[in-house]
Point group: C2
Chain length 253, copies 2
């Protein structure tokens, strides 16, 4: 990830060096875009990042991503970018097999894809909490915990450090990470909610191990910073560059 | 597909021969389950089918498919079945590569997966029409046509008989088929709605070619039969065995 600002309405198209690198159209706080950053970083694939203001989208974006979506991955020499985070990540895993993220066993790979799909049972209530739209926060937190049980059980069953083995995070680990990184927001919003340390012992250890992985560090933002952005979004005018401005302020103070 | 009845509440678990074959838990009129039938048939993989009454599910289903969903694919020797139609189909394509359905080129495969994903823009309004829940049928039909434009354009661009080439249907073809098979229902419901034969010339030709494919014939039901089932569903008590009963009646008359 770079520290650049988000391109918005009225901006000119970024002039990138003609160095044949992939270009990722992203948004700094988007968990789906982060999935692609994680895979690119885990595989040490060099790429450019172009951040997009999703509220006031630049007019030229339609030339780069016809559906105006992020994440979108531009491939040198290809007219149309790839979209959909899971499609992009699977593509990268097949195209750059040096660091393999999916299992090479079809059945294990299929089970891993089901685990990734079923994480929507965690993402849904989490999203409600983060966007302050949950009608009953206690109930939403309970739903998150119910959803997480499957992952705690699965880690116990596998008996490995990561879902992808003992050496390093695999595809399941990386696809689940963006929401894990944001999970501490719940505690920041209300200190009533802490994950049960016994019930989720494996997942908590996993979260710590993940946070120390170099690929994860590449796109890591603290829950405090995620929350800062979400609070600007809550007001109706999200400040995509809140961290850029903060860095500037720190430099000039 | 077999011609058996759907297992429902109170039924005993089916006793299948111990012949090491895959078992597909299915519902005769479910388009997502049909995707798996199509892939199994296209690859000539032998399997058993167990049809499930989705309104009055058999109690034992939870032992076979913990989320009580169909399609679910039971693999001999494995405790838990695979679920999610696309996950199952991708698994079968990797596990049984003799007849390859996905492209071996990662970029082409990724683009094909996006085509399959984006078909939801057709499935959504089609489903509203079929279930008689569209508030404005003319508008829903317009949405279907708008969604189909991408596929007409893509077939023209590829210049092949099928999305997967000239020889035989590939993964895109098979994943789109179940809704194509049902598309004539719209005309049965109201003869006002016919696909514009010039605008969709390639897709109409494709539909005819697909209908002649042996794998497609294996699970084919006429739009009239699909509609018969949908009409029983509309009354609130879907008759899953409507074709079984019909066959019986024909035999005894």
């Amino acid at each position: 990830m770079n520290n650049g600002k988000h391109y918005s309405k009225g901006s000119s198209m970024p002039q990138l060096p003609k160095d044949n690198k992939l270009v990722l159209y992203s948004m700094r706080f988007c968990p789906f875009a982060q999935r692609v950053h994680l895979v690119l970083d885990a595989k040490n694939i060099p790429y450019h990042t172009v951040y997009i203001n999703l509220t006031e989208k630049p007019e030229w974006l339609v030339q780069k991503s016809p559906l105006m979506k992020v994440p979108a991955l531009e491939i040198p020499g290809e007219a149309e970018p790839l979209i959909e985070s899971l499609v992009i990540c699977d593509y990268l895993d097949e195209k750059y097999p040096q660091v393999k993220l999916h299992s090479t066993d079809p059945l294990r790979k299929a089970r891993d894809k089901i685990l990734i799909e079923r994480f929507s049972s965690v993402i849904g209530p989490m999203y409600q909490i983060y966007t302050f739209s949950a009608s009953d926060v206690t109930d939403a937190v309970r739903q998150v915990a119910t959803g997480l049980q499957l992952y705690e059980d699965e880690l116990r069953k596998r008996g490995t450090k990561f879902f992808g083995g003992n050496d390093r995070p695999g595809m399941v680990d990386l696809m689940l990470w963006p929401w894990t990184e944001r999970s501490h927001i719940i505690t920041l919003i209300s200190d009533k909610y802490e994950l049960d340390t016994e019930r989720f012992a494996k997942l908590i250890k996993w979260r710590d191990d993940m946070a120390n992985d170099p690929a994860v560090k590449g796109s890591f933002l603290s829950a405090e910073n995620h929350l800062k952005f979400l609070e600007t979004r809550r007001t109706g005018s999200p400040n995509y560059d809140i961290l850029v401005n903060q860095a500037k302020k720190m430099r000039t103070s």
